[in-house]
């Protein structure tokens, strides 16, 4: 993998981001009517309304607004949230952290379970446990998460009363920093249900990818070779076949992490998790442009960066892949 490849891919990623930022700007400015409607209280006089428009620069030509907007993004200024009346960045970072802690735990569970299970299913291919495993994996993938979430709340929250059903912490609580907030037992109790619901949904993907690549790897000569050497089937499975089959799973992992931020709006809604997804829903509902844009952009950046990493990872892990 050459340095020019990395550079070229990096530039491409930046270009992609620029295009998305542009689409976003015009979609918002042209798609919605007068944004001052969301900004000011009703019954404000036209003069005051014009003053508000001027203060937020909404009276300038659209192209000028676009250039200002690009400049602000480069400087890392995302404006002031209409709703919170505070800099968007402050709002977004906290929500982002909330989402990521949930999603990373969920993805970790899914992959730590899915990879060995997938390898096991490939080993047992054609048997009853293979079929059962596939059907279960597909079932978790077919069940919409908002529904499994609601079912879990009904069962463990309402009927059995084991776990809390909403939020990140039992209110009221005091936490000086983010880590104060999450390193508690109370937080864990809030985390279990949403994290497991997301993990179950994601489980199917590493499981099935792992199983299918394992089947492909099984057909190759070096497996025959390992068997011929008299290795135990278990060693052939986990030491030789599984290692080589991991590649597509790891790429998929990177992509999944990238999509995590934009991840699971519905789960955050069902469990009232104060994350990015719930925030963007709220922002779009209240026509809070700066907040919706910044949230969306953050999600897009993460996706692009992780896709980029996935590409590089693929090249680094598989020496057979020659990247120009």
């Amino acid at each position: 993998m050459s340095r020019t490849y990395v550079l070229r891919r990096g530039l491409q990623a930046i270009g992609t981001l620029l295009v998305i930022v542009t689409i976003l700007f015009f979609l918002f400015r042209l798609g919605l009517p007068d944004p001052t409607g969301a900004l000011v209280t009703e019954g404000l006089s036209p003069e005051d309304r014009a003053a508000v428009r001027e203060r937020f620069g909404l009276d300038r030509p659209i192209m000028e607004q676009y250039v200002i907007y690009l400049g602000n993004i480069v400087r890392g200024e995302f404006g002031t949230s209409f709703h919170y009346k505070a800099p968007v960045a402050n709002v977004v970072w906290e929500k982002f952290a909330n989402t990521m802690v949930l999603m990373l735990v969920a993805i970790a569970i899914a992959y730590l379970l899915g990879i060995p299970l997938g390898a096991y299913l490939a080993w047992k291919r054609g048997t009853r446990s293979d079929t059962t495993g596939i059907v279960l994996g597909l079932m978790f993938r077919s069940a919409p998460m908002f529904w499994t979430g609601m079912m879990a709340v009904l069962l463990f929250g309402v009927a059995l009363g084991w776990l809390p059903t909403s939020g990140m912490r039992t209110l009221p609580y005091e936490a000086a920093t983010f880590f104060d907030k999450i390193f508690t037992l109370d937080f864990l109790r809030h985390l279990i249900m949403p994290a497991l619901i997301i993990a179950l949904f994601y489980l199917g993907s590493p499981l099935l990818i792992m199983r299918n690549t394992m089947l492909e790897v099984y057909g190759e000569d070096f497996i025959e070779m390992a068997r011929a050497k008299g290795l135990r089937e278990r060693d052939v499975l986990y030491r030789h076949a599984a290692r080589n089959a991991l590649l597509p799973v790891i790429t998929q992992l990177a992509v999944t992490i990238g999509l995590a931020a934009g991840g699971q709006v519905v789960v955050e809604v069902v469990f009232s998790w104060p994350g990015l997804g719930r925030e963007i829903l709220q922002a779009v509902r209240t026509s809070d442009f700066p907040l919706a844009q910044a949230t969306f952009m953050l999600m897009a950046v993460l996706v692009i960066v992780m896709n980029f990493l996935a590409d590089l990872l693929y090249g680094a892990l598989d020496p057979r892949v020659k990247l120009r």
Partner: protein, 602 residues
């Protein structure tokens, strides 16, 4: 190579068509493999069933999914161990009154319904009329019921006796003169005095010997209820605060006289009960009216009600404990100091309440909206917060799911396949531009983008389909492109090119059929994804308004706040989504084996 063998030369038109047909048949042949896979066959059967359900929704659905269902029935509920329990209905006609005497109770209702209650069991009495019976009074010799159009029914020793007393609707009846006569009240301030002896003599005697007493008020108001008081007189109450006191006549056989009675409110009265031992009394009426009397000579006091809906039935015991029931499942209880409202878990309208052998029993019910009803033989999946049938909603929900699923998937595959074909075949600049667009698409997270799209433009079916298809074609395009890249290097493509076939001809007639299995695989995968995407958007409240979909049902459930108790509301839509998508995935797995023969292991 399978296809393309006849493409170069120009055979006559007829055989060209035949060749084309054969050629497509060859391309589609591997699809038969689906039926070799048991899971895929299951998938086809399930998906087929869902499609049939969607197409035949009006036939499958038991109700109009949008219609608010009203139901009338002979409801009764009992108060056991501190809570009300609605018991199995006794029929489809509402019950309107219940009277009790010495451990025996009789209930009457619409269409002349009369039931005897003994030891927790009900036995129907023979029908004597088809008029609605509004009130019943149990005496020493039998029960007297009165109803619409002056209907009077006497259940004595022999067969029931039905007669007519005037033409006014009769709404209340009680025994006076130590059980020697009945006092009957009704519409138009009608008050009848009916000697018991007349009941024994037959219909004609009954009509001749009954006396209609002149009302001292004379405003033609409705008298709703009447009850004997402990001093031998009786009280009748009615609409607009009307109350009359009946006093027996001095001479034997006299019908007695009526005087107006002033009570501390002018609200309408619906029910009345006087305890014959202690002289305590309770009157109930409109807007939670509760009038209580602590003894025969005590003053009437108006109690503050815990619920302001109309009350219909009243009961007060010798120890001062009292009960009142009314519309929408309202049940109140008085413990001697304060009134409380008990949960009944029903919206049924109750008409009367009595205490029989230490147990409180209430009866109803007029047509009521069957809100949040658990599954029953009428509503297989219960009803929602507006009383709409959930089974029918689920059946109709399959239409939106499949419509959006198939249209979305078709659009996605159409865009994706064409982009993939062009990028892979023409390469160079075309490929670069198209693949850069695909890269941008990969940078956009789906859910947030769909949300923004749906909210920027008014939610509609079209926007939902567009939101799904505008992004998801990226995967298809990439997959098809890589396949086309290798296909276009194959000899049959070169042969076609040498034979002078145009680019488009090669692309669509030679290369496209070879990627068909892959296209079908993607179609199936995206069909499942579209169904989930539509459900997700509808669940977030961003789906097409006024339409019924599985996601929308769950959205309503969450919005109503009742989803934590009404499990029958939440479970079926999600299960339908899961089963449908699962069926599609089963099929797609078989297609995957066709598209990628290396997976065909054993």
């Amino acid at each position: 190579m399978r296809p393309g063998s006849s493409a170069g030369s120009r055979p006559p038109a007829r055989s060209r068509t035949a060749a084309r047909t054969r050629y497509l048949a060859q391309a589609l042949a591997p699809l038969r493999l689906i039926f070799h896979d048991r899971l895929a066959t299951t998938g086809v059967v399930i998906l087929g069933a869902v499609i049939v359900m969607a197409l035949a929704a009006p036939l499958v659905a038991t109700h109009d999914p949008r219609a608010i269902v009203e139901r009338a029935e002979a409801s009764w509920m009992t108060f056991d161990d501190g809570e009300w329990r609605v018991r199995t209905a006794l029929g489809l006609d509402p019950l309107y009154d219940l009277d009790v005497r010495a451990g025996e109770a009789i209930a009457v209702g619409a269409s002349g319904l009369a039931l005897r209650h003994q030891a927790d069991a009900w036995t129907p009495l023979p029908l004597a009329t088809d008029a609605t019976l509004w009130s019943v009074a149990l005496g020493a010799d039998g029960a007297l019921a009165v109803g619409d159009g002056g209907a009077v029914v006497w259940y004595g020793d022999g067969p029931p006796l039905a007669a007519t007393l005037g033409d006014a609707d009769l709404l209340g009846v009680t025994w006076v003169d130590d059980g020697a006569a009945a006092l009957i009240v009704g519409a138009g301030e009608a008050v009848w005095h009916l000697p018991l002896a007349a009941l024994h003599e037959g219909v004609e005697a009954l009509e001749q010997r009954a006396t209609r007493l002149p009302s001292p008020v004379g405003r033609g108001l409705l008298l709703q209820a009447v009850a004997a008081d402990v001093d031998g007189s009786a009280i009748a109450v009615g609409e607009r605060g009307l109350a009359l006191r009946w006093t027996p006549g001095e001479a034997p056989g006299s019908a007695g006289t009526l005087q107006p009675l002033t009570l501390p409110t002018f609200r309408g009265f619906n029910g009345l009960h006087v305890d014959q031992d202690s002289g305590r009394a309770l009157i109930v009426g409109e807007r939670g009216t509760l009038l209580r009397r602590e003894g025969p000579d005590a003053r009437w006091v108006e109690d503050p009600p815990p619920d302001t809906r109309a009350l219909r039935g009243a009961w007060i015991g010798p120890d001062g404990q009292a009960w009142a029931v009314g519309r929408n499942g309202v049940a109140l209880a008085f413990d001697g100091t304060t009134w409380r409202r008990d949960a009944t878990g029903t919206e049924r309208h109750f008409r009367a309440v009595v205490v029989v052998e230490g147990r409180t029993v209430a009866v109803g019910s007029d047509p009521f909206v069957d809100k949040l009803a658990p599954p029953s033989s009428v509503h297989w999946f219960g009803t929602d917060h507006l009383g709409r049938d959930l089974f029918s909603q689920n059946v109709y929900g399959s239409r939106i799911a499949l419509l959006v699923g198939f249209l979305g998937a078709a659009l996605v595959v159409l865009i994706g396949t064409n982009v993939g074909l062009f990028a892979g075949y023409f390469r160079g600049r075309t490929d670069t531009v198209l693949m850069r667009i695909v890269d941008v698409m990969y940078g956009i997270p789906f859910e947030p983008f769909a949300m923004i799209l749906v909210l920027l433009f008014d939610p509609s079916l079209l926007i939902v389909i567009l939101a799904i298809s505008l992004l998801t074609w990226r995967t298809v395009a990439r997959l098809i492109r890589s396949q086309v890249l290798s296909l276009s290097e194959r000899p049959f493509v070169k042969a076609a090119r040498v034979a002078g076939a145009s680019d488009l001809r090669i692309l669509y007639l030679h290369i496209a059929p070879n990627v068909l299995p892959l296209v079908f695989l993607e179609l199936a995968i995206i069909l499942g994804a579209s169904i989930i995407a539509e459900a997700t958007l509808s669940f977030l409240g961003l789906g097409p308004p006024q339409s019924i979909s599985w996601g929308g049902i769950l959205h309503n459930a969450r919005l109503s706040g009742a989803w934590r108790t009404a499990w029958w509301w939440n479970v079926p839509p999600g299960a339908f989504i899961m089963i449908t998508v699962l069926a599609v995935f089963f099929i797609s797995r078989a297609l995957e084996v066709i598209a990628n023969p290396r997976l065909r292991t054993r």
